[in-house]
Symmetry: C2
Subunit: 159 residues, 2 copies
Amino acid sequence: MSPKGANPVPWDHTELSVGEVAARSGVSVSALHFYERQGLITSRRTAGNQRRYRRDVLRRVAFVRVSQRVGVPLARIAEALSTLPDDRAPSVRDWERLSRTWRTELDARIAQLQRLRDDLTDCIGCGCLSLSRCVLANPRDEMGEEGPGPRRLLVDEPG
Amino acid sequence: MSPKGANPVPWDHTELSVGEVAARSGVSVSALHFYERQGLITSRRTAGNQRRYRRDVLRRVAFVRVSQRVGVPLARIAEALSTLPDDRAPSVRDWERLSRTWRTELDARIAQLQRLRDDLTDCIGCGCLSLSRCVLANPRDEMGEEGPGPRRLLVDEPG
DNA sequence: GTTGAACCTCGACTCCAGTTGAGGTCAAGG
DNA sequence: CCTTGACCTCAACTGGAGTCGAGGTTCAAC
């Protein structure tokens, strides 16, 4: 990436502009602005008020994207990232710790979907979806969890 | 459920009011209105403009809730439901067919999350999240899929 | 010293899956 | 008759994760 074409690397070379971070991370500039507003990443400003990022912002952004794939909302990602040191660049241990948190999360989500799949398999056999007889239609698990919607599923009276 | 307490059953007894459907399905009245606007369920109206539902609306609603747990957006659920007969109540075979569709979907989602988990496990070892070296940060799979966000993740140049 | 790409802020808009509230109607009991 | 609770419509709002555009500035090159 020598200075030719549309995007030569200027100044310091250790710091990155928002456009460079966008190109390298695959995240749009507007999303990076947004992440900054949400406290997921931080930047220094130049004299002319332009953002300059430390190179480890790329890992932060990568971590954000991965976490989103796991299904974690930005607010919790921000929370996790806030446990990273603010001054020094995070170490391998730091990322390891964060990744481990999500593994647990992911295991739970997979287990949940597998239960759902098993129930669904049973119900393909029974074809029921009856509110009283069907595990699927009347789940006892994960009540207050997982997004908006009704907090309870009442049972159909027998008969 | 004889006529006593807060909610006696009026009129026909084979048809259900919106409040009854809400109580039996666990879905709020406002959500049922919303589902109707989205074409997920339908109702007849009384002389006084009140909704009356056929009893099989309970299965439709159950199907909607289950489908949401699978992760299918309402628009696609509506699409699936639109393949049901509009006149007669759907048969066991009908529900079976629909459920089978979601099973495939669910299998794919589970497989995807399992891949993600495996990658994450590897990355806990490597602690990398480097945009070039890490499968996690740079996935080749499921590109145009799964929600909003950037459609590509560029690679970090080597070195 | 001017051009043009890249940058800045701010507010408004999108989509999804609903919820909330205002203002009005319907139906049954006392 | 009047009250009460369930019902009706319609519009506006929520929240999450951004996108889009207007209007203005900075910066590197020519």
